[in-house]
């Protein structure tokens, strides 16, 4: 304690005046930590708020049942089942639920999808109280002609409370099996307090009528009598065939699992700024220590021990870290609030994009704040560690003699290449089976990237010395000699000055190449997946949330209309495949007329396995391949329901599916129809005659439908540009995070060069005495920074390309289960590298101008 107090006194008396003297650079270091902490904490808060909001919305929607009665897929849940379970001993409340998607017209007359919940409002009050409207009389809830909209739905309709008398809403919905369209009108009644995305509550009988599912239910929520053991009661029940009784699903946890890869990757990306900032702090502390070497030496002579000197430098780092972390936490909170206000948070899933999460301070957030604040502190301490060690081990007498010392720790030459090789090896490791909480997190790949970054930095001295050799053929001159010898002597220092910008540049190059490659691959994928000119489907939702089937007469009318040259049919639905885990989402099946040469394949095609059985070829997405560990050439079985007849299939190939992460498979339409007997069609691919105007043709086609508003027709160009827009929007945040990291890196190089130039004033003064002009000194500084930034830019580019390979070939396939082809956006890469190079050189020269004023001449007189 006394020791700590003494250190604190020294910090105030000895370090504070020196640090205050370099207030700008210290402030920069504090800002770097603050920005790093703010970005990572802000992203954490954004994701946490979105998850909490979704969890709470799901809890409102599902209520708090003890158990949920469902039927297995393919087996309908009947009202009779509800009646049977509601009358069982021990059941206090039983609330039947039917859910579906209906189409409504918004305030501008545009169709939009509305989730409709059919409830028995008299029963639901006990289980889903958060959804229930404020009714004047309980009997109002039984009126099948009334609809209760939540705030989001009212907004879409341009309505607000109090709702005008006689306000009517017309809903259209398709029956899930037949696709037959029902259109019903409801009187808009008291609003539902549900705070989620647009939703409506109907009496269950009205919902059954709307969805063409008379007598059917989706689930029955049960509340048991108090004191009953849930497990014992459940085990004692004899349920009808195909019925299951289970605790309510934890939707929040499910979303957590679903979005884990997105959240972890964004989190890692947001830590990039803190990581880069740590090098700025390192540069500032190193140089601050270097500038005060005589002071440290004097303190050593006056009796401060080596350990005390080291502890004092660490205290300086700690002070910067404390300030930066505190500022960062405040900034992160504000950033998250602003982000939620301006952008919302969809966790990378369009499915939850309707949410409007809010940020409220609670004690539960303290551990996260402690973690991110602690991270800022740890980064500062780690950054201070190396300069502290050098002060601890400095030769006091030599430094007092004015001969300085190398701060270079003298890392062995093999360290850089060794770490790069280790990174390569780690990247090549196969993805192991991680525990659930790490699922989807490419741990080895991130370790590989870290090793490569450290290796890249450790290679800087080597690269510098190699490039000096390349300069050996130049005619000797004083400037060249000075530059060469200084660079040789201070190669370790160069590594420190460059560290921040090297990390930021290489990560920016990596992200630029990865995002560019992904965009190019997406563009190529869109060309392959969207070969037709127009796409037609129902605007209504049918089974499993897929598009409702198209009326056969409409398909025939399109075929006969003369508007299209060629037409191709597709059926989309969910399907069961062997090996699927119970909690896994069902893969989406797309049955269509397939041309293998047009598929976006992610590998070679396989021949059918030998055997007597005739196997149907299927093409699985990469996500499905990884989750089922199925490879081309292997057999499997498809089913339309868990107990339905199996279709023996073999995996003919694996294709890229950038549209879904939950898995999808393609199969020939004819094979699907022969197996299932299902002739329903959900999408049409339409090719127009050459020169035909897509817009007028699509209007003509729309006119063929009995209800034109039930159709969605899109031209290939619209779909492409919409997809690319969504892609660009999704990656916009990464561009900003990169920009911040790069700015911090450039600040780092400016701070390092500025401190370097100031520390070298006596040297510049001597050169002026020897006959250098100020312009010569500036030219020397320019030459030095050209060499330094040139090596930094080239190393950053090379390292970035290596990192991009890990991102493209390891991180993306393991996290998101999609592969892509590497493509280099040469012009943008050149612009990025050139910008960093020019900014670095300018920073150095501007810093040098400051340092070679008249003080340089005076500095020669300074007698330490």
């Amino acid at each position: 304690m006394r020791h700590a107090m003494r250190l604190f006194v020294w910090l105030r008396a000895l370090s504070w005046p020196a640090l205050r003297h370099q207030a700008g650079r210290q402030a920069l270091a504090v800002l770097a930590i603050a920005l790093g902490v703010a970005l990572s904490y802000g992203v954490h808060l954004l994701n946490g708020a979105a998850l909490a909001e979704f969890g709470s919305a799901a809890a409102s929607l599902n209520g708090q049942p003890d158990l949920v009665l469902r039927s297995q897929p393919g087996t309908p849940l009947r009202e009779a089942d509800y009646a049977a379970i509601a009358n069982l001993d021990g059941v206090d409340h039983a609330s039947p639920v039917l859910q579906g998607q209906a189409q409504a017209l918004d305030a501008q007359g545009r169709p939009f999808n509305l989730t409709v919940l059919g409830l028995d409002l008299l029963q639901a009050g006990a289980i889903q109280p958060d959804l229930l409207p404020r009714l004047a009389s309980p009997l109002d809830g039984l009126d099948p002609g009334r609809i209760h909209l939540n705030a989001a739905a009212l907004r879409r309709l341009g309505l607000s409370e109090p709702i005008p008398q006689g306000q009517v809403l017309r809903l259209r919905a398709a029956a899930p099996d037949s696709g037959a369209v029902q259109s019903l009108s409801f009187q808009v009644a008291a609003a539902s307090p549900d705070g989620g995305p647009p939703r409506a509550i109907l009496d269950i009988a009205a919902a059954q009528a709307l969805f063409g599912r008379l007598g059917q239910l989706d689930r029955v929520d049960l509340r048991l009598a108090p004191g009953l053991s849930l497990e014992e009661w459940r085990a004692a029940q004899r349920l009808g065939p195909g019925l299951t009784l289970s605790p309510p699903p934890d939707e929040g946890a499910r979303l957590g699992r679903l979005t884990q890869a997105y959240r972890v990757n964004l989190g890692v990306l947001s830590l990039m700024a803190l990581f880069t900032g740590s090098f700025l702090v390192f540069a500032v502390l190193s140089l601050s220590v270097a500038q005060r070497l005589p002071q440290w030496a004097l303190l050593g002579v006056l009796g401060m021990s080596a350990r005390e000197r080291m502890a004092l430098v660490l205290m300086e780092g700690l002070a910067l870290g404390l300030l930066g972390s505190a500022l960062g936490l405040l900034l992160g909170w504000q950033l998250a609030r602003l982000g939620l206000q301006l952008l919302g948070s969809d966790l990378g899933l369009a499915a939850v994009s309707g949410m409007r999460p809010t940020l409220r301070f609670s004690a539960e957030q303290l551990p996260a704040a402690a973690v991110f604040g602690g991270l800022g502190l740890a980064v500062s301490l780690l950054s201070a560690w190396f300069p502290a060690r050098s002060v601890q081990g400095m030769p006091v007498a030599q430094v007092l003699k004015g001969l300085g010392q190398r701060l270079d720790g003298g890392a062995p030459v093999w360290l850089g290449p060794g770490l790069l090789a280790l990174g390569g090896l780690l990247a090549l490791l196969p993805s192991p089976s991680w525990p659930a909480w790490l699922a989807g997190v490419p741990v080895a790949a991130y370790a590989a990237m870290l090793a490569m970054l450290a290796g890249g930095m450790a290679c800087v001295p080597l690269l510098l010395r190699l490039s000096l050799r390349a300069l050996a053929w130049l005619r000797p001159s004083a400037g060249l000699l000075l530059m060469r010898e200084r660079a040789r002597d201070q190669a370790g220092e160069a590594s420190r000055a460059l560290a921040g910008v090297l990390v930021a540049l290489s990560l920016s190059v990596a992200m630029l190449v990865m995002v560019g490659s992904f965009r190019d691959s997406l563009s190529q994928w869109l060309s392959q997946m969207l070969p037709a000119d127009l796409y037609l489907r129902s605007a209504l939702r049918g089974e499993g949330g897929h598009q409702a089937p198209l009326p056969p007469e409409l398909i025939e009318a399109v075929r006969q209309s003369g508007q299209v040259q060629r037409l191709s049919l597709q059926r989309s639905r969910d399907v069961w495949i062997d090996g699927l885990a119970p909690e896994q989402e069902l893969p989406a099946l797309q049955a269509r007329e397939l041309r293998e040469q047009d598929l976006p394949l992610a590998g070679p095609l396989a021949a059918p396995p030998a055997g007597p059985q005739d196997l149907t070829p299927i093409y699985i997405s990469e996500a499905l391949r990884d989750s089922l560990r199925l490879q081309p050439g292997q057999r499997s079985q498809l089913r339309m329901s868990p107990q339905g007849p199996a279709l023996p299939v073999f995996v003919r190939g694996v294709w890229r599916d950038y549209a879904r992460q939950s898995g999808a498979l393609l199969m020939p339409l004819a094979a699907y129809q022969a197996w299932s007997g299902d002739r329903r069609i959900t999408e049409l691919y339409l090719w127009l005659p050459p020169g035909a105007d897509a817009s007028s043709r699509s209007e003509a086609l729309r006119a063929l439908a009995a209800a034109p508003q039930d159709l969605e027709i899109a031209a290939v160009g619209e779909l492409r540009s919409l997809s690319l827009q969504i892609f660009d929007r999704s990656f916009a945040v990464t561009v900003w995070l990169q920009a911040v990291a790069l700015a911090i890196g450039l600040f780092g190089i400016a701070a390092a060069q500025s401190a370097q130039a100031l520390a070298r004033r006596r040297e510049f003064g001597l050169l002026l005495h020897l006959g250098f002009r100020r312009a010569d000194v500036l030219r020397l500084l320019g030459l030095e920074s050209l060499l330094l930034c040139g090596v930094g830019a080239l190393a950053g580019l090379g390292l970035g390309l290596g990192l991009s390979a890990v991102l493209i070939w390891v991180v993306n396939p393991q996290s998101f289960h999609w592969s892509m082809d590497m493509s280099l956006p040469i012009a943008r890469l050149a612009a990025l590298v050139a910008a960093v190079f020019v900014a670095g050189v300018l920073a150095a020269v501007l810093a040098g101008r400051q340092a070679i004023g008249q003080q340089a001449v005076q500095a020669v007189k300074e007698d330490w």
Binding site: H769, R773, V857, V860
Partner: protein, 221 residues
């Protein structure tokens, strides 16, 4: 025929803000002459040297070096004059720590664009460091470092060496040896030397000894 003086300074005045450093200094140096300039610490000796070398601006007065008026030269021309005609030896050695001893000595020749390895080696041997050319400064003692500085000051055969307390950082034995070496080399190379010191004993070794306070307002030719 009267020989042109190597250095002629008249009425030099310099102050930092409202603090006068010196005023009314007159000074004359002939070719090959060794002049010691005595003065108390803080009396402005080093500032005077900087002004004579065109490194510091004067408030008033004129300096003529080898027939050239410094006031009429721009920064580049002054730098060229220093490069060709002046050598410096400092109290604190001022050798570049990242250059070898040889490269430190060779620096003025490289600045002039005429590298001459033989001349550098000759100077190293002249100052007794012939075998230490490849060492780095951190591997040398204080006396050895000042020898490097002397070799560097004379390697390009300047007309005038400005030595600012060259023995101030050395023990008495080393100081005496270094001073002997400096004066011997200056004489051998035929250069003039203005030796700023506060040591009476050092000053006695010069051809002439001047006191800074005496120079103010009284020509010392």
């Amino acid at each position: 025929m009267t020989e042109l003086p190597l250095l002629l300074a008249r009425g030099l005045s310099k102050s930092y803000g409202h603090t006068p450093v010196f005023s009314g200094i007159d000074l004359l140096l002939r070719r090959g002459e060794l002049v010691a300039l005595l003065g108390e610490s803080g009396s402005g000796k080093s500032t005077l040297l900087n002004c004579l070398a065109g490194l510091d601006e004067l408030d008033s007065g004129s300096v003529q070096l080898l027939g050239q008026q410094l006031e009429g030269l721009n920064e580049g021309e002054r730098a060229l004059l220093r490069r060709q005609q002046l050598g410096f030896v400092f109290q604190a050695f001022h050798v570049l720590p990242y250059l070898s001893v040889r490269d430190n000595v060779a620096l003025p020749l490289l600045l002039l664009g005429r590298p001459d390895a033989e001349r550098v080696q000759a100077m190293l041997e002249a100052v007794g460091l012939g075998s230490l050319g490849e060492r780095l400064p951190r591997q040398l003692s204080g006396g050895q470092l000042q020898r490097v500085a002397i070799a560097r000051a004379l390697v390009h055969k300047p007309a005038l060496v400005l030595a600012d307390e060259p023995t101030g950082n050395l023990d008495s034995r080393s100081a005496s040896a270094v001073l002997d070496l400096l004066l011997a080399q200056v004489r051998e190379q035929g250069a003039a030397c203005l030796l700023v010191t506060h040591s009476e004993r050092a000053a006695e070794r010069a051809d002439r000894c001047l006191r800074l306070e005496d120079l103010m307002g009284s020509p010392s030719a």
